[in-house]
């Protein structure tokens, strides 16, 4: 589903001394069926922005359109129900939301709430667990006995089980080890490509954004500082530095190779392996030329 923000403002605790304007004048479109990344320093309004997409927050003014549903300041709760069914959201530290006595029950909590056929989903659970890199035998275990990384995977799976058309992830890899981060990003990317859903991922790291996203949105102080294709954003080096962001190392290396060798890579989001194989192919071709 296409997501459009039209002139959205959000003020927390309006009309109190604690009033904070978290979003100012946000107008942006997130294209359907692709992955967008929201990036920016802490407190820049990233979480506030994405919580508008499933109506957890309503704009103070302006409107948000998700598919053909409109969310504005006066939207009723009831109308949001349908939205919740289509938009899945994985929060920062999602393992904090686990509560059932078995992993299986926790995974079924969401699907049951939105009225999906649980018997059908139950059959798919072992497959889903494997997909997030867990043993299907964990289904009978208590989620509180799992390690932090395993809990994170269960929590992500519990949202995937709802089969959302739009998937939002708020820093899904925060606090994981590098291997765990890599695994989670890979599984998310695969899921997105397999089901062609619209995915939005919040992150602090350019590195991560560059791996997944076809569109980058850089937030600063409640406003959109930059938006566009990763390539175009990487080109604006100075602006990025002002925002405490850096071009990912991986992209720097690719750029350097392009400049010094004259090779053209197919995209900036190559993994080191893919880049190496492209480089290999190119070298072979060059050899033939000579």
């Amino acid at each position: 589903m296409k997501i459009t923000f039209d002139n959205v403002h959000h003020i927390y605790m309006e009309k109190t001394p604690f009033e904070t304007t978290a979003l100012k004048d946000i107008t942006v479109t997130l294209p359907e069926g692709t992955c967008s990344a929201v990036i920016g320093r802490t407190g820049s309004g990233k979480s506030t922005l994405v919580q508008h997409i499933n109506g957890l927050l309503k704009p103070t003014s302006g409107k948000v359109m998700v598919g053909d549903q409109i969310i504005h300041a006066k939207t009723k709760r009831k109308q949001l129900k349908l939205l919740r069914r289509q938009v899945g959201m994985v929060f920062q530290y999602p393992e904090h939301q686990l509560f059932e006595d078995t992993v299986e029950k926790d995974l079924l909590f969401g699907p049951k709430n939105i009225g999906l056929n649980t018997t059908k989903i139950k059959k798919k659970l072992p497959e889903l667990l494997e997909l997030v890199g867990l043993e299907p035998s964990l289904l009978e275990r208590s989620p509180f006995d799992l390690s932090g990384g395993q809990m994170r995977r269960v929590a992500i799976a519990s949202v995937l089980a709802m089969e959302p058309n739009v998937l939002i992830l708020d820093e899904p890899t925060a606090g994981l080890d590098p291997k765990g981060q890599e695994d989670i990003l890979t599984l998310l990317k695969d899921w997105q490509e397999k089901y062609q859903i619209t995915m939005i991922i919040i992150t602090h790291q350019m590195e991560e954004a560059s791996r997944l996203a076809e569109k980058l949105i850089v937030m600063d102080n409640g406003q959109i500082a930059m938006e566009g294709r990763p390539e175009d954003i990487y080109a604006q080096n100075q602006m990025l530095q002002q925002l405490d962001l850096d071009v990912p190392e991986r992209v720097k290396v690719l750029k350097y190779l392009e400049e010094s060798l004259g090779i053209r890579f197919s995209k900036w989001s190559l993994t080191p392996k893919e880049a190496a194989s492209e480089l290999n192919m190119w070298m072979k071709k060059e050899k033939n030329h000579v």
């Binding site: 957890l56 938009v87 899945g88 929060f91 969401g110 709430n113 939105i114």
Partner: protein, 265 residues
């Protein structure tokens, strides 16, 4: 979501009341409570309300906050008023409808009780609205310190209070976050059958408790690791300072109390 929780909420500011020492504020509120309970005439309550307005003006707090803070107990006040008005049978009969008879004494009694409750909540709300929780517990600790001789663990009580107060906002934030997370998984906290709603609350309470215990454990370890071992010989980073302003305020309250004493019947 929790934008309307005001009880015990501190509003930073620079008013006369904000600048007062927490100890003098505590003492004044304590005296005022005694005065409120002592008063039993219309004139007395009139004066008390005048005093309340004066204190309110000195606090610089917007009236909306006080109203919000008072709201939860408003029903209680109305309820006690009705009970007293209906069941006290003194003085002349005012009206009589069916089995209910309203006596003058009953209405007076009911109003007095309602005034008392209102004034109590009013003064204590102003205290918490203008005093940071840390100052308040420091003041309480100092007031209770003399009782240590009788085995009252003043420092520990104060520590428990300040930790509890410190974690109220954290717990509220956590609650809000978990409500959001479970709502995103389709839980509905406000609609649906009792069964659905109680399921939603289990989904809120279990993670909340798990986190709270985890946090308590972490805090205990962290304190122990940094060598915390009770109040013995600890010094304070922040010192409470008693100024002329505080003496003046306490004196004013005492004089106010003496004046009101003559309005008793």
């Amino acid at each position: 979501m929790f934008e309307h929780v005001v009880i015990g909420q501190y509003l930073p500011g620079r008013s006369y009341l904000h600048k007062m020492d927490a100890r003098s504020k505590l003492a004044s509120v304590f005296l005022l409570i005694i005065i409120v309970f002592m008063t039993n005439t219309w004139a007395g309550y009139g004066l008390l309300w005048a005093g309340a307005v004066l204190v309110y003006l000195l606090s610089g707090v917007s009236f909306r906050y006080i109203r919000k803070g008072m709201f939860p107990i408003f029903l209680l006040i109305i309820f006690t008023f009705i009970l007293h008005a209906l069941f006290t049978q003194e003085g002349d009969v005012l009206v009589s409808v069916g089995v209910f008879t309203l006596y003058e004494g009953g209405v007076e009694q009911g109003l007095f009780i309602a005034f008392r409750l209102l004034l109590l909540v009013f003064f204590t709300s102003l205290l918490t609205l203008t005093t940071s929780p840390i100052d308040l517990t420091d003041a309480l600790e100092q007031i209770f310190t003399p009782l240590k001789r009788f085995g009252v663990p003043a420092h520990e009580i104060a520590l428990m209070m300040s930790i509890a107060i410190r974690f109220i906002p954290t717990l509220l934030q956590e609650t809000e976050k978990i409500i959001k997370a479970q709502s995103a998984r389709g839980a509905d906290f406000s609609k649906g059958t009792w069964k659905e709603r109680s399921q939603a609350f289990v989904a809120l309470l279990v993670p909340l408790f798990v986190r709270a215990f985890k946090r308590a454990e972490d805090l205990a370890f962290a304190m122990e690791a940094r060598g915390y071992n009770g109040g013995e010989g600890r010094t304070k980073l922040r010192k409470l300072t008693w100024t002329l302003r505080d003496s003046a305020a306490c004196a004013a309250v005492v004089i106010f109390g003496i004046c009101l004493f003559f309005f008793r019947s």
